[in-house]
Symmetry: C2
Subunit: 438 residues, 2 copies
Amino acid sequence: MDKKEKQLRIGLAGLGNVGAGVYKNLEKNKSLLCERTGTELVVKKVAVRDLNRKRDVTVPSEKLTTDWKELINDPEIDIIVELIGGVDEAHELIVAALNANKAVVTGNKAVLAEKGKELIELSEKQNSPLYCEAAVAGGIPIIKAVKEALIGNRITSIFGIINGTSNYILTRMTSAGITFQEALEEATQKGFAEADPSLDINGWDAGHKAIILGWLSYGHWLRPEEVSVNGIEDISLDDVSFANDLGYEIKLLGVIRQAEGDERIEVRVSPTLIPKGHILSSVDGVFNAVAVHGDVVGETLFYGSGAGQDATSSAVISDLADAAENIHNDVGCTGFVPKGDFGTVLPLDETLSQYYLRLSVADRPGVLAQIADITGKNNVGILSVIQPEPASSSKHIPLVLLLHDASYGTVQNALSAILGLESVETKHTLLRVETLKS
Amino acid sequence: MDKKEKQLRIGLAGLGNVGAGVYKNLEKNKSLLCERTGTELVVKKVAVRDLNRKRDVTVPSEKLTTDWKELINDPEIDIIVELIGGVDEAHELIVAALNANKAVVTGNKAVLAEKGKELIELSEKQNSPLYCEAAVAGGIPIIKAVKEALIGNRITSIFGIINGTSNYILTRMTSAGITFQEALEEATQKGFAEADPSLDINGWDAGHKAIILGWLSYGHWLRPEEVSVNGIEDISLDDVSFANDLGYEIKLLGVIRQAEGDERIEVRVSPTLIPKGHILSSVDGVFNAVAVHGDVVGETLFYGSGAGQDATSSAVISDLADAAENIHNDVGCTGFVPKGDFGTVLPLDETLSQYYLRLSVADRPGVLAQIADITGKNNVGILSVIQPEPASSSKHIPLVLLLHDASYGTVQNALSAILGLESVETKHTLLRVETLKS
């Protein structure tokens, strides 16, 4: 095929970490991509905030602009790649691009989680596709997997380790026995955490991704304010160690699930104990993995680098190849996702899981009996108990309980009664335990 | 969307295990599929060998025929699904379907490995696509991953556990300490091995899959007779145990690799020691996993059920959905795979890896020195040695060596010299060790 025969012109908005990776890797594998797609993918213009900033790629200065509207207004540009991040300006940019009938590729999970319903509606109205493989789990092609490869399945559950920074921190706490704060500092030093890591640490980076996976799985958007998200800030080395004794690892886990016949969708993120035997528990460091259970395929898992310049640009480039193919075949939006609307979130109180509960109790006989009496009355079974030898001087000792499957509401009721006991201190840790069975 | 608006008619050739799964699951998730694809996928005719055979799905008798040519000759049928297995008749069927300008979905790895070049050429000439997600690793969407999702990458290596029967047997030998023969019998009883498991055991089922992955990765077909394939028949419990002592698990591993700048392709299958820390080593039982390393994305891994009625039908159904979309968009072959021709296989003698060598040597001093002298002269480094305590009565004792990276040819030279030593018996085991670094 004549390499000059087909050419596709890209407007790249954003030349930060991932944007630079896209530019660099499109250059690097130019001939390979041209051979495989039959199309030359050319970055025609690049919009940046600061023309003079030093970057790790060299872009000819005539391609650079500080005004992304130039990309939209250029009739020769077929595809806009949005990598500026954030919500408001990215939203404005994507809307403008779709209105100009350009295909859009984005890696922006926040704008999709906040404005996905509106953006997909506009994309469908304009018949201009919006691609987002890079928005979830970096280089792992989880969007394509759920949207296309598993299309014959009712998705029964998705469990995802979808934040590399958190996973790095938890891995280091587990393997090196360092504290959350020490592990966070190490992650920052190694470039695995951003200058402001709050969205990683507080769980919301994973929360945005979970909302996108919920949309792909069940066709409905969920409002972020209705989704329960907890981060890893409060995980202590004691919890890591007790979890280990019980045969578990603590991971920041995104859960996406819908019971058969129930319209309500469970989408939530929290630090969670998962069994050591499960393949997800061997996902360490900055790696991500997403376990998808389908009613036909059974258990699948997708693993890889969840972030980083190169891995994420691999996802952007695959979207560009899909876009190129569709543009040359004169195909607009492809019909693999049900129409978006807002779905109903399964109320947190009704979500089911096992639980890990660490209490601080008076060091005297009968306390466990009092607690077991309360859990029993609330129909919450106790799976196991760890009561470490007390340090000689302490009046209070830790008591760790592993609780059977129960709704969050029930467990909260039992917990308030337990914390009301005179022999139990109010300070405690309650974490979910997922058996990952389906 | 009006469900009756779009309809696609399927001719299903073969109603064995996977064929029955496709029929069953298309029925089961009919409305979901219709909603997601905007198309009703209807099985119009089913070709079977024996009309009266008892099956685990009920197909209306008017849909059944014993002549697959009826499917080809039916102008209303848009897509042929080939699940009859074997090479010659399947080849004839696929050729006839492509010549009739029907899209073809196949799960037949043997026919692709043997006749892939010709079939893809015909598919391109007719502009009738040939889909084969179900041919490799069952429910794992590895075809789509390599062909589409990782399109921006030069594939640096693929390591695959791509035969469920072998993996079940090796897992049981490792975890339960039972022999190859006992584990094979167990696999047969549990339905994890076919009545004739020879293609699983001798490695050729994996070999066919590796050839397909090599084609997707590098664009060239390889002739099966030029590909080195070894099965697991000769793996002993001693090897499993020594491997364990050294920190490895034995897996039947497909390796697909091409060095940068080298046209020659390495595609081979053999029982291989892999390090216990690597995520591939936790792939147990009938599960499959494929680790794909790309120059942009880094390490990725795809995990799931590699066989079975349901998992494999999930892959067939995703191909049907892709076919439906392309037919409705009036798109023929999509251009994501370079033109097929026969590539050059990297000669076995030049393939590099580490090695596990188990010898039986005379129980007297100086033998290790003699062996080390030979490996040294051949520039093969020794990474570690295990010499178990001898049983009191035996004249010969095992000696296990872990050898540094070396070409197969070099190791064979060293090995013949070692086996020529008076103190070394000719009976030995040589297995590859892959560090899985890239």
